[in-house]
């Protein structure tokens, strides 16, 4: 995901701000990392450049 997505994304549950932790990047493209809700603490993985912002109970695959 391009880092400017941070301007507009939020936690799908409580719509609060997310904090980005980057594990791997390619310029301003975040390849691996984590988005953490600043309010509820829920964590959303970024894998292969794609943030997974499904509500946790819809996340069927094993998070990275």
């Amino acid at each position: 995901m391009k880092e400017d997505l941070m301007d507009i994304i939020c936690c799908p549950l409580d719509k609060q701000e997310l904090e980005l932790t980057v594990d791997e990047r390619d310029g301003d493209d975040v390849i691996d990392g984590t988005l953490t809700c600043t309010e509820c603490g829920e964590r959303y993985p970024i894998e292969e450049g794609i943030p997974n912002l499904l509500p946790p109970d819809m996340r069927d695959d094993i998070p990275a």
């Binding site: 995901m1 391009k2 400017d4 997505l5 301007d7 507009i8 994304i9 939020c10 936690c11 799908p12 549950l13 719509k15 301003d28 493209d29 959303y44 292969e48 450049g49 794609i50 943030p51 997974n52 912002l53 499904l54 509500p55 819809m58 069927d60 695959d61």
Partner: protein, 226 residues
Amino acid sequence: MSAGDAFDEWARQGKDQGMEERHWHTAKHVLSQMPVEEGDTVLDLGSGSGYAGRALRETRGAGRTYGIDAAAEMVHNARSYTDDRHSGFLRGDFEHLPFADDSVDHCFSMEAFYYAEDPHAVLGELLRVLRPGGTFYCAVNRWEENVYSHEWEELVGVPMVLWSEREYRAAFREAGFHVAGQDRIPDEETEIPPETDFPTEDWETREAMVERYREYGTLLTVGVAP
């Protein structure tokens, strides 16, 4: 089976590209009507192969486009079809949009809305994320008046919304949208074989196939956030 699982399977089989090709007959007309201006942020709900975002970047100067899709394989494929990182993709559920209030200029959705378990929730979420004056271009070819679409639920194996044209307008208004218009967009490009080829595998009569593609086509409902 959830819609996500079904579509993961489709994406693995490369059916996302087949859908793109078929849906493009109609989608290009829908996209060209959208009041997208240079620099706008546009969302594609249930983005599949991601063609809509790519097209709006290339032809309309959209600033950023985001495709959201529940199926992991769809999103992975979509990302792999473009190097343009202003055309991004994310995995998410359109009933729980991960976007801030008023953060999106316009939203497009093709052949996806009727998979919603709670379609009213989708409309509510859209109204929240669209800025005032933002539009929702909702295109579906499964709806009450199109009798040929009634059997799909069985074929796809997941429950699907089946509203009438009037019900679409009413639900949009109930969610708080202004309804700007509604139209049936014909598919003029799907090839229809000559009379003598009928019945085909899929169609009893040529008349029915003509009615399905050239008359019913795809239902477009346009909502505007107040």
